[in-house]
């Protein structure tokens, strides 16, 4: 890196402990004006801790943080930190019922607010940085990526010239990601320093000039992205040879898909869900088969999963599940999750924080929440020991790391929380698993493990019983490698079906956009 640009943020030898865990072990990091630095690492590597330290939320135990050459203020003195660094967190810090101008100057206005002045200054900021968001729009009406721009504008309004982006693309569609990246380039060209935190390595290669890799709280690599390959980065994150991309062996087992009996038949499914409508979707999933559903964010991918799992009512159509004791199938009642589960539908929800676990209950209790009836005696009583015993094999199978069965699930890292949610689903031996974006926000190694565990269930059943079916609803194309078939939804309808793995990434992308491809692997549905 050239030394001409001034260094805005510098961390030297930063240490941070939580109890017995050393979250950061002497990390050095420096960020110069106009630089976009990528920060990558597996879940629990220390990324979040660095974000907390650089956002002024946590004081380091040892080491130094310097802002513009001077020692940083103490943690908690948020106002002074914001003059230097602003963080755009994964969870939006925008007040939805206020206008863009109010949000840009939130907590940064004089005692008496001049609306005209506020709007004028907001327009100036938007114009200076080439953003095109109207100052008096209501934030509730803006898409996620524009809200992120509002948060960035708020930082710039306070004079901050360093922006931390924590997984900014997690909730974005492809087009929105492209637009966000243009904005980030505009920022760096204007001399702003950007620290970019992401699980998506392609994004890091696309937008960052430099990348720092953390592993177990240590900085293990810092280099220019132009000098690295994707495998180098993965090797640094995992700490060994790069793991094989998951599911590459999957195609060999596709023979089983033809032989299996259907576990799920969906006919003419419709839904008016605001998150994405469904307009007459019909499909089936056979035992031993992994069927992928993909499409753009509003195409109805998650809605299909939620409706099939009974987490959301359907407007019309039928969902039938075929079980061992009812081969001709039973209708799954609309919008009744408990009934759907009793019939044998497992559900891995889209948002694990919202639906995946109860934060202050223990790991074992969360993992066995679906089978309390089975663990309980005739009067309905069960002991913590019986829960721990039932959870242990699942924890082992998913390599779930916790301090014990009683550790609150909320204390785990994101990847381990997702394993708790998956364990909860595997626990009740479902005939069909509905998994919605099961690897979102999960590191590369855990991702492979979670996908493998789903593929295993399809092949061998939950605990070595009959093979189950898996309906994998995901807009992350890398999840689809374990699928035997992939169905692409466009605006709530089946647009294309790919039956011949491995699937071509470009063809999938073209199909999700609703464009026809000339490739042979695709056949129009119905």
């Amino acid at each position: 890196m050239t030394s001409s640009a001034p260094v805005l943020v510098e961390m030297t030898g930063v240490e941070k402990r939580f109890g017995t865990t050393r979250a950061l072990r002497g990390v050095d990091l420096s960020l110069s004006a106009g630089q976009c630095l990528g920060l990558v690492g597996r879940n629990g590597a220390g990324k979040s801790t660095i974000v907390s330290v650089l956002s002024g939320l946590l004081d380091p135990d040892a080491g130094q943080v310097r802002l513009g050459g001077a020692p940083a203020p103490r943690a908690g003195d948020i106002a002074r930190w914001r003059e230097w660094i602003a963080t755009v967190f994964q969870h939006s810090m925008i007040a939805p019922d206020l206008t863009v101008a109010e949000n840009v100057f939130l907590g940064n206005t004089a005692a008496i607010v001049s609306w005209r002045d506020l709007r004028a200054r907001t327009r100036d900021i938007m114009r200076d940085w080439g953003f095109d968001i109207p100052a008096d729009a209501l934030c509730r009406d803006l898409p996620v990526e524009q809200l992120q721009i509002v948060e960035i504008a708020r930082a710039l309004a306070r004079g901050a010239r360093c922006v931390l982006l924590d997984e900014p693309t997690a909730a974005l569609e492809r087009d929105a990601v492209r637009r966000l990246f243009e904005r980030v380039r505009q920022l760096t060209e204007g001399g702003v320093a950007v620290l970019y935190i992401s699980h998506h390595l392609e994004e890091v290669f696309e937008i960052c000039q430099q990348v720092v890799v953390l592993r177990d709280g240590e900085r293990v690599l810092g280099a220019a992205t132009s000098e690295l390959s994707r495998d180098d980065l993965i090797a640094a994150m995992v700490g060994g040879a790069p793991t094989a991309t998951p599911g590459t062996r999957r195609s060999s087992s596709s023979a089983s898909s033809g032989a299996g009996t259907p576990v799920l038949t969906v006919t003419g499914l419709t839904s008016q869900s605001p998150a994405g409508r469904l307009r007459g979707v019909s499909l089936d999933v056979k035992a031993g088969e992994v069927v992928g559903i993909t499409g753009l964010l509003s195409a109805g991918v998650a809605t299909l999963g939620r409706v099939v799992a009974g987490a959301e009512p359907r407007a019309g159509g039928e969902v039938r599940l075929h079980g061992r004791t009812f081969p001709s199938g039973r209708t799954v009642p609309s919008g009744r999750r408990a009934a759907a589960q009793r019939l044998g539908i497992g559900y891995i929800p889209e948002d694990r924080r919202a639906e995946g676990f109860v934060a202050h209950l223990g790991v074992a209790e969360n993992a066995t929440m679906t089978i309390t009836g089975r663990l309980a005696d005739r009067l309905g009583f069960l002991t913590p020991a019986s829960r721990a015993a039932a959870a242990a094999p699942l924890s082992t199978r998913l390599s779930l790391v916790s301090s014990g069965p009683a550790q609150p699930a909320g204390e785990l890292s994101g990847g381990n929380q997702q394993k708790v949610t998956v364990a909860r689903t595997l626990a009740h031996d479902p005939a069909l698993i509905v998994a919605i974006t099961p690897t979102r926000g999960v590191d590369v190694a855990s991702k492979a493990l979670l996908l493998d565990s789903l593929a295993d269930v399809a092949r061998a059943g939950g605990t070595g019983q009959d093979a189950a079916g898996v309906l994998l609803c995901s807009d992350e194309l890398s999840d689809l490698v374990i699928c035997d078939r992939v169905i692409v939804l466009v605006r709530g309808e089946i647009f294309a079906e790919f039956t011949d793995p491995p699937f071509d990434r470009d063809e999938l992308i073209i199909a999700t956009e609703g464009l026809s491809s000339t490739a042979d692997g695709q056949e129009a549905a119905e």
């Binding site: 999750r337 759907a340 639906e355 995946g356 676990f357 109860v358 929440m369 679906t370 663990l375």
Partner: protein, 347 residues
């Protein structure tokens, strides 16, 4: 001086808790009796205030006076645990025994004239409680109305009914079986205290070891996650509102027996709901749901009972007793927050 002691104690507890972190059971127990230092402190204060404090008969008295409140606190704690709240328990506590007594006592004593058997009267009391809980539960869970405003409205309706059916008269001459629970004693031990303790223990075990008890914690902690895990969230919630109201009715029966009458004041006009919430919250039951247990709730009830008793023994002027009572409860909340640590914080 008092707060200093409490702070020292809390520091010690924190160290102990972290030492014992590995052994879940012990640290759990330690957290649950977080109020113990405060109770010890109060007992010392009581002993200093009056020589009559540390006597068996005084404690039996505290027990008898606290049991009715305690049973209502169990009901409210259950409702708080699922993330709800029920202000109308105080009116159920008055109306349920009023309806039952009205059906039992003769016309000359302002009864309805049905001259119902007192045993059937107790069944009626439970049915009234269950019906109120069911209406609340259906309105809140199925009707998706705000629990605060529904139960506030219900409070006033029920209190109006309580006065309306007997035209604000007080019903005396309750038959023996009806008053037994609130007035009888086994030796020095009041029956109401024994029953209250049994209810606390049974509900405590139910919450800790029964699948529905665990479902209550899951629902209070994260209703969406509980639903996704196949728990019948609506059914459990409605059931808890019903159970809470039945417990409030039983608490009302104890109070009626203790004072050998059902007055128009019982419940709503006494304003017992403040004490109910205070006991639960002092005992570490979170108003946001999912956190708390019966050991905590019981210590909250005992704490309030002792405070009342000390104020009585100290001959505090009648004109000032409410102000002091309220201030002491606020102070106890503050102490409980310090001693209980983060787990009792509301944010």
């Amino acid at each position: 001086m008092i707060s200093n002691q409490a702070e020292e104690r809390s520091g010690g507890d924190a160290v102990l808790t972290s030492l014992l972190r590995g052994s879940g059971g012990v640290s759990l127990l330690l957290r649950e009796v977080a109020l113990l230092p405060v109770l010890v402190l109060l007992i010392i204060v009581g002993a200093v205030v009056s020589p009559a404090f540390l006597t068996v008969s005084n404690f039996a008295g505290i027990g008898q006076q606290s049991s009715a409140l305690g049973v209502v606190v169990v009901g409210e704690s259950l409702i708080l645990l699922i993330g709800g709240m029920d202000l109308s328990l105080e009116s159920t506590y008055g109306l349920a025994p009023m309806v039952a007594a009205w059906l039992i006592v003769p016309v000359t004593a302002f009864g309805s004239g049905t001259d119902l058997s007192p045993y059937l009267g107790i069944l009626v009391l439970i049915a009234v409680g269950a019906a109120i809980g069911l209406i609340n539960g259906l309105l809140i869970v199925k009707g998706r109305l705000n629990g605060f405003i529904v139960t506030l409205g219900m409070t006033i309706v029920l209190a109006g009914l309580q006065n309306g059916i007997v035209k604000a008269q007080t019903l005396f001459n309750l038959p023996g079986p009806f008053g037994y629970l609130g007035s009888a004693s086994v030796g020095q031990l009041p029956v109401s205290l024994i029953v209250a303790v049994v209810i606390f223990v049974m509900v405590g075990l139910f919450l800790r070891y029964h699948k529905t008890g665990r479902a209550i914690y899951a629902i209070g902690g994260n209703p969406a996650a509980a639903r996704a895990a196949g728990i019948k969230v609506e059914r459990v919630k409605i059931g808890v509102y019903v159970a809470g109201s039945i417990l409030a009715a039983i608490g009302g029966l104890m109070e009626a027996g203790r004072v050998s009458a059902v007055t128009g004041q019982q419940g709503y006009q006494e304003g017992i709901i403040f004490n109910v919430f205070a006991a639960a919250v002092i005992g570490g039951v979170s108003l946001k749901g999912g956190r708390g247990n019966m050991i905590g709730a019981a210590s909250g009830v005992i704490l309030l009972g002792i405070v009342q008793d000390i104020l009585d023994l100290a001959n505090v002027s009648n004109y000032w007793i409410e102000a002091i009572d309220g201030a002491v409860i606020l102070f106890a909340l503050f102490l409980a927050r310090i001693v209980g640590g983060e787990s009792t914080a509301e944010d």
